[in-house]
């Protein structure tokens, strides 16, 4: 259950941010799409909307919220499960609520507001998806939004990170059917997070070479993964010299995508945004460098043994 940010702007009268701090990490989100904009069905803008922030600490975003709910760390899944029970009018004990750092009254009030909304939206961030419970938390949040559609229109949307991370997911999905963690070694896509996902491959030492395009795992990934990148040949394509460049064997400086190289960026609601280059760059784009690498690899003879002709093996 999702929608575009345009629909949020024009329709959403009830907005929840869960485990995210948009005031700092998505500074234009409030003003462009969610809180302060006047929408087609919300002519008074902020006055027509209610915003709830759910987080483990009082961030800058709490100042913009009508209601701030401070959850105990690692208890998000329990809170969502209680909300789902309350949505269905099931009994929930005050003790179960107290464990989460919230009271039954606070959670019942939230459920009443969610049901009474004309159009609700739940934005969830890394505080939900990268803490204890991980994908189960995200799945629970999506299920909560889905179940609320028995009462009103309710959608959920992840607060995607920097750059064009949504674009990578979207393109992988429409070309290979899966968003990440794809193994092409058999010539067709196989998807298995935990087995074919980047960090698992690196930590297990399954890869013997890595190409990094427009990312800096040397400054973001766990230590065992970084150590494997350092041990094996790593090639980096990036407009800047990064921490990963310093542990790699080859670094290609490329034109910054969207500034000096054309392309398409995807907004967090998966709306494609074509970008024309505004500035010239002396460097090739990522695409041009990759095409040259592919052409050079194709010119080389295959490394694999030729099929056996049927005669005796020496």
């Amino acid at each position: 259950m999702s929608c575009t940010l345009g629909e949020v702007k024009n329709r959403a009268d009830f907005i929840i941010y869960w485990g995210g701090n948009p005031a700092e990490c998505h500074p234009r989100h409030f003003t462009r799409y969610t809180l302060t904009q006047k929408g087609k069905f919300l002519p008074r803008g902020r006055k027509d909307r209610t915003m709830v922030l759910v987080d483990i600490r009082e961030t800058m975003s709490a100042k913009a919220a009508d209601i701030f709910l401070q959850v105990r760390p690692g208890k998000d899944f329990e809170v969502i499960t209680i909300l789902r029970a309350l949505v269905k009018n099931q009994k929930v004990s005050a003790e179960a609520c107290a464990e989460t750092g919230l009271t039954l009254e606070q959670l019942q009030d939230l459920v009443n507001r969610m049901k009474a909304a004309k159009f609700g939206v739940l934005f969830f961030g890394m505080g939900l998806s990268m803490t204890r419970g991980k994908h189960m938390n995200s799945a629970a949040a999506l299920t909560l939004a889905t179940e609320l559609n028995a009462f009103t229109k309710f959608v959920a949307m992840p607060m995607r990170g920097h750059g064009n991370v949504t674009g990578a997911d979207v393109v992988m999905r429409y070309t290979l059917s899966y968003p990440f963690g794809i193994n092409m070694s058999r010539g067709y896509p196989r998807f298995n997070p935990g087995e074919y996902s980047t960090i698992d491959l690196l930590v297990r030492g399954d890869t013997d070479a890595t190409i990094v395009i427009g990312a800096d795992p040397g400054a973001t990934m766990p230590k065992p993964a970084i150590e494997h990148l350092r041990r094996t040949p790593t090639i980096v394509l990036d407009p800047k010299v990064t921490h990963t460049s310093r542990l790699s064997r080859v670094h290609f400086t490329t034109a910054p995508a969207g500034i000096s190289a054309p392309g398409t960026a995807y907004r967090m609601d998966e709306v494609p945004m074509p970008l024309r280059p505004a500035l010239e760059s002396p460097y090739l784009s990522d695409e041009e460098v990759l095409k040259k690498i592919v052409a050079a690899v194709q010119r080389r003879p295959g490394w694999y043994p030729k099929p056996h002709s049927g005669g005796p093996v020496a």
């Binding site: 990268m130 991980k134 920097h162 963690g181 997070p193 960090i199 766990p222 230590k223």
Partner: protein, 120 residues
């Protein structure tokens, strides 16, 4: 003393990523932890002191400053120092647990360091 460490994202960190990760500002941002004032008192450290944070995987040193956070918790923007602290187990999801680690903290220097950044 044991704490729960929560790596986070911040506005200054996001800006400095684009300015350049070799800059003093970026390094100050990703090396400055936030803690509750009472926790600092218990540690016997002043705001801006240097602490060593240790997990089963590795260790790193940070400056720690007072901030409006819950007791028993430390917050720091993601960066090269936090990479030293977490392992690669993804629980089959493809994503390592990057928040909520239990860490052991010891004070390296009790006096404030000039490079510590004020909390945002």
């Amino acid at each position: 003393m044991r704490f729960l460490l929560m790596p986070i994202r911040s506005n200054k960190q996001g800006v400095q990523i684009n300015v350049g990760k070799d800059g003093a500002d970026y390094n100050a941002v990703v090396n400055t932890m936030q803690a509750h004032p009472d926790d600092l008192k218990e540690l016997g450290a002043a705001s801006g002191a240097t602490i060593r944070v240790r997990t089963d995987v590795g260790e790193a040193t940070f400056q720690v400053v007072e901030a409006k956070v819950s007791r028993g918790m430390l917050f720091v923007p993601y960066g090269p120092p936090t990479c030293q602290l977490y392992g690669g187990d993804t629980d089959g999801t493809g994503m390592p647990t990057s928040k909520g680690w239990e860490v052991e903290v010891e004070v390296v220097s009790r006096e404030p360091q000039a490079s510590a950044k004020e909390p945002q």
